[in-house]
Structure formats: C-alpha cells, structure tokens
Subunit: 430 residues, 2 copies
C-alpha cells in the first residue's frame, strides 16, 4: 500500500468506541437490506453526478454536516482508487447520458488556489479516462484560453465559453453535457440559462438556490425511513436543528429568537445525552443557511454567547462566500469529532466522495490545533488531507483485523443518505 | 503494491515490440472513439454478467482464443481490485435486475478441485459485498448441504436445489436471479428448464449450445466494424479460421477435408506474414468446436501432421469435457505468444475478466516448459497464475514509465470485442 495503515486510519478514542461499534455492527448486520433499499431509492431519485459529504463522528453519533454537490478535493483521493473513480464515472454517465461523447467542465471563478485546479485536473482526468472528450471551460476566460500552472510539470487550460443559439460551446468543441463544478453562490449566470445541453449537477442546486434547512429537513425524512428499516434511534445519525428564519447580525434583528431556539436545542441535546449516558457538554453550530467553504459558521455552548457577540464576530457571521450577506441561519446540533490521528491525537473529520451513487473514496481533514467541538472546515485554516487508505465498499473483508473497513462502510452509508437528501432537493427546487 | 512490478509484468520480447506498440498506440489514440463505440454496442447488446477471455499476444497480433462465459479463476485476480469487482457487480446487477435481492450461484458439478471452489467463494463474496443475499446451490447436493473445504480456514456449502412450481429454490431461500457458473457441457438439465427466474449468463450459452465457429464468425463481423472505426487491418486482432464441419477422428472421416483447409489457412497466414515481414513459421490450432478447458486442442504446422496422428492422439482429440465426443472442429490461425516473464523467459498468456461490460482484472498463465506456439491451457498442465498488477482502465496514467497500463488497456479492448461477440451469440442462439 505504500502508506502505513496505523498512521493514517484515525483512531476512535477508546472511551467512545462502545456505542459507535454498536451502530456500526447494526449497519453491517443489515447490509443487504440497506443496499437493496438504496437501489430502490436511486431508481426513484436518480443520483447526482458529483458530491462530497463532510461527516462528524463522535462515537455515539455519526452524521453529515455538509453536502457539497460541486466538490473540490478530488486530488486528495487515494490515487490507488482512480480505477474505481473511472469505473464509477463510466457507470453513472452511461446510466444517465448513454449517448454522450463530449463533456465540458465548468470550474469555480473565484479562486486562484492551485489545489483547486489540481482537483479540476483530476476530475477531468477521471472523466477522460472513462472514455469522453473533455474540455475545461471557464467564465473567467474571455478571448483566449488561460493557462493555469499548478505544478512544475502540470497545467490546465481554461477555455472561453460562448453561447450560440442556446448551445454552450468552447470554440469548435460542442459538449453533449456540462459538468458543473461551480456552486454558483452568486446565482445562475446568463450564459448558463436556457441552454440546450443538460447541466450536471443542475445549476439550480447551486448555493444561490439551496438551503441547508431544506436539505436537513429532507435528510430527516430519509433518516426516519432508514432508521425504521434497520431499527435504530434516528438521533444516532441525524443532527437536531432549528431553522431560524431571517437574521440580521449587523442590526441584531432576530438574535433573541435565535437565542431562544439555541436554548431549546441545547435542552433537547442534553435529554439525548442523558438517555445515552453521555457526559459531554452539548453545543450547537450556527450556520448561514446557504453557506459553504466553512464561512459564517459559529460553535455556541450557551444562548448568552449570541447576545455578547462583538462587532467583528457579527460582521464575520454576516458575510458568506462571494461577499453575499447572510440573512437566513440554521442552528444545528454540534457533533463532537472524537476521531483522532497519530500520537498527538490531532482531530480528524472524514469527507466522503461520490460519483453518482458510487462511493469512490475520501479523506480526513486533520487539524492540529482545533478542539473536538469546532468546525474543521474554516476559511484560512491550514489542515492536512489524508486519503482514506481503503475503499468504502468491502465491509466484510475476511481479515478481521481490518476493522477500519467497517468504519469506512458506515461512512459510505451515511454519506449516501445525505446524497439521497440532495437528490430529493433536485426534485423540489425548481 | 506488495508485488514488484518488474517481476510480474511479462515483457514483450524486444524483437516484436515495434508492431505491437504501433497497434497499441493506434488503440490509445482512438480511445474516446472506442469507448463511445462500446457504449452504443452495449445499448444494443446488453453485456453478459460474467466472462473471461484468453488472449494471445504475438506483438504483431493480439487476439482472443477463447471466450468463457462461466469463468473459474476469480480467486486469481489481484485482491487489491476487489473493490473494483464489487462496484462492477453493483453496477451491472442494478442495470440488468434493479429489484433483485437474492442470488443463487450454481457451480460446476464435475470438479472437486479446491481452486475451483475458491473461485466460487470469491465470486459469492463479490456478489454478497455488492449488497445481495447469496447462496451456492448445487446439482450435486441432494438431501443436505455439502461442505467443501478448500483451505485450512475456509469452506463453502453447496445447498440442494429444488424446483417448486417452476421456481428454483434452496430450502426457504427463493432467489430472484440464478447466477450460473456451470458451462452445461452436457446440456441443460431438467431442473434449469422452464424456471420462472432469470438465469445469467443464459443456460443456452452453455457449451452444449455454443459453437466456436459461430463465436468467431460474430467476432469477425465485430472486428471488421471496429477496424474500420479506427483504421487498422483487422488481421491484427482477428485470427483467421475455417469451420471444418463434421469430423470423426476415430473413423478418420473428414480428415482429408481438414488437411486441405489447414493447407489453405497456412498459406493465408504466410501471405500475411510476408506482408508484415514476419519471419516466423505459420501454425494452426485444431480445436473442438464446442470445447473448453483446453481439451481437444492441437497445434499443427503442416497438413501432414493430421494424416499421421496415432491412435492415442486421435482418441484424445475425440473426447472433450465431460466425455462428450467431438464431432465438429475448427481450424484457427495460431497466434504466437511472445510475452515472457522473468529471466528464464517463461511464456505468459493473459486472461481478462469482466463483470458485465466492466473489465475488473486478469492474470497471466505462465508456463515453464511450453513453447511460444503451444496452447497454455491444457488439461493436467501445471501453470502459475500471476494476477495483473494494475487495472485495465487507466490508459494514460501521467507517469509514462507505466507502459504496461497501456498494454492492459489494449487487452481490455480486445477482451470486450470478444465479449460483444458472445452478446451477439445470445441473440442468435435460441
């Protein structure tokens, strides 16, 4: 494998192993039922082409905290699993667009981050190896292609886009499908409106249209059905939340209501902690309802913290990606991250990647200074990426020492539940 | 990777590298076209669930010599690619039988070979991990399950089959799908006739119904279309052959006709060798038209060899697997195997495995004493199996030193052409 297994599989802190293994065992024991249930679900809600899900794993609870449909980070996946990525891309593209030949990838505009372009290059490479002609077109390039160098040896070209009679083209390259890797936080630009080619994932699933409250409401419905299926308390996989509605942090409008809901939520979490004898202090996360990139996120342990926010904190909560102002907020149960890595016990958060319904890998965000109850995906934060050393689809490797494969399988189940919520979002967002 | 790359990738003898690399380059350059062509082909001829293809690679020519739809040898695949196998099984089963829950595997009856049961166990494991309930049912087990031990630690159970009102069951296990891993050389048994569940691959594609001449006739049509697509002489991928019709080796009926066709075929091969400046002696393979397991196969360099066969040789040619007598024979262009391995240059023949249209791996049959022009799959022969060290679906790994990935991709193309011929067989065999 090249990598040493014990170095790269985060270890659940011993004190919290019990309940997680119970949940894990339950999920493993019901594997056939779960997979059959997912198959029926995908028939009803066709899977979205690309996604990644940030998970938090406290041992007693494992749950998604963010579902990204335009993921970066493909370059952080384990290169040993590229064949799996290629096969997954072949399989889902054949299923959704059997006659497709040429694919145009549209990346983010906002970034000059070389890591992001490495991710775009990896995604392009996967799709190309799946047997498609691929170009990267950008809303940044106007007259001529822009070369982006992200490595001493490698670069990609961003080609200018044109719209000709409702067909999006790149010079003489006429794509059959637009693979969107831009979360359109600032709305759907004119050039992507009313075009004849399909866009995947759909432009209306950009953050200008999505709502976290809506996503987690759909996720809740799914968790209810799933928990009934395998007979667990859905709280083990579902983070409680309140939709706070309109908030103006600058003018302090709505802060009182938010404090009240925070108190209610902290009480509800405490009741659950009591039920399962969990001796930790509940906390909640306050998030912009349409936020991404870990911007406009706060960890809160008491309602009073909200009333005593200083101007700087309120300013930082009121601006999300692209400078948009935050006016809707959700308060969500905070899930401790008790996965740690290495002898220094750095906190690690798994991120799971999917192409269609196929889980193709993932990595851990490992941070050296953050606490168990903090958001690890924060702007400007430096974190390491550690690729999952193994695949997520071999739950019962015959070698019982490979317990982490069980853990990866559990991740793959929770990540797919979150994906399913987004597939339902597609149906309800017009 | 655990294995050292140079040890396990057979090396094409230098003298023969040129023309193969030209073919390889041509196939790689047309990759997108080829993959698009395959996608359209699978829409028209849905892929068969399981298959393996034996290839021969002479440098100037690479071609299939046998297409097996009920393959053994899953245990010889590289365990690092099990995730790829699992994902391929998920993908093809979801595509063909979206509502399937329970799968019954029916293995061969004839064998007590522990390696064969290891292959069955591996196949069962792949399907189970793909998310299905799996049982192995056998026509050998009558009243109670038979335990087959094939390892100090591992064993499988063969369960008795019953037919209840046209439904095949195993006790209270009612499969949705029968996964046949028995080539039914002796015909379709009553218990598999007129049952309500689908059988995959179909029972009518057993060797009691198939014909090599028919397979290679369909393969020829496919090669013609494929060669036109990418602009190559189809001879580089197609072995010339004659269908000899009825032959009785014991009574020597039909031998003269066979000698005549052998001479014609040797002349045709010589013309091709002249055209491409190949300085080897042509040879042909005489094969039972419905043969398998490398039985009833002879390598012939002149028509006279056929008239001077001794009784023992004629006897061995007249009996195929399961003791069936051989009465139809094909004569096929012999393809040299110039892939060798290790410092002793042992001859190696690739075998490629597929689940549906997905190439999931393969291995080399390596033999220590056989010559370049002999059949390496012969009964009683001892050969080593060396798993492919890499996947077949990454043709353009950015590291150019990984030339063998190109080679594996070329294998995957030729193997899929042979699979496509079998998919056409399914339509024409009733």
């Amino acid at each position: 494998m090249g990598l040493k297994m014990n170095d790269i599989i985060p270890h659940i802190l011993t004190a919290h192993r019990g309940p997680f293994y119970e949940l894990e065992k339950h999920i493993l024991d019901n594997r056939v039922k779960i997979e059959a249930w997912f198959r029926e679900a995908w028939l009803q809600y066709p899977p979205i082409l690309t996604s990644s899900v940030d998970l938090r794993n406290s041992g007693f609870k494992i749950s998604p905290v963010d579902t990204n449909l335009f993921p970066a980070g493909f370059n952080n996946l384990n290169p040993e699993f590229y064949p799996l990525c290629i096969q997954a891309a072949q399989s889902i593209l054949y299923e959704l667009y059997p006659h497709c030949l040429r694919i145009l990838i549209i990346p983010e505009n906002h970034t000059r981050n070389p890591h992001y372009y490495q991710s775009v290059a990896t995604l392009a490479n996967i799709v190309q190896n799946a047997g498609y002609e691929v170009k990267i077109g950008s809303m940044l390039a106007h007259d001529s292609p822009i070369e982006i160098k992200f490595d001493s040896a490698e670069s990609i070209y961003l080609h200018p886009l044109q719209k000709k009679d409702n067909t999006l083209v790149c010079g003489d390259f006429v794509p059959c499908l637009i693979l969107l890797n831009n979360d359109l936080s600032e709305g759907i630009p004119e050039i992507l409106q009313d075009i004849s080619q399909p866009i995947e994932p759909p432009a209306r699933l950009g953050w200008s249209h999505r709502s976290k409250a809506h996503h987690f409401m759909l996720y809740k419905e799914i968790c209810k059905e799933f928990s009934d299926l395998i007979g667990i308390d859905m709280w083990h996989i579902f983070p409680l939340f309140y939709d706070c509605g309109e908030i103006d942090f600058i003018q302090k409008d709505g802060i009182e209501c938010m404090m009240q809901k925070t108190e209610e939520l902290l009480n509800q979490i405490q009741l659950k902690y009591n039920e399962y004898n969990i001796e930790h202090k509940p906390f909640v996360m306050v998030k912009a309802d349409a936020g991404t990139y870990g911007m406009a996120v706060m960890s809160i342990r008491s309602p009073e913290e909200l009333s005593s926010l200083n101007r700087k904190q309120r300013m930082s909560m009121s601006v999300a990606k692209g400078g948009r102002s935050v006016n809707r907020v959700i308060i969500q149960e905070g899930v401790y991250t008790f996965e740690t890595i290495g002898k220094d016990q750095h906190v690690a958060e798994p991120v799971v990647y999917m192409l269609g319904q196929h889980v193709v890998g993932g990595f851990y965000r490992v941070h050296q200074s953050r606490r168990f109850d903090e958001n690890l995906n924060a702007p400007g934060m430096h974190f390491e990426m550690l690729a999952f050393a193994e695949c997520c689809n071999i739950p019962d490797n015959r070698d019982n020492s490979h317990q982490h494969q069980h853990q990866f399988y559990v991740y793959s189940v929770i990540a797919r539940l979150a994906l399913l919520a987004s597939c339902k979002e597609r149906n309800s967002i017009k």
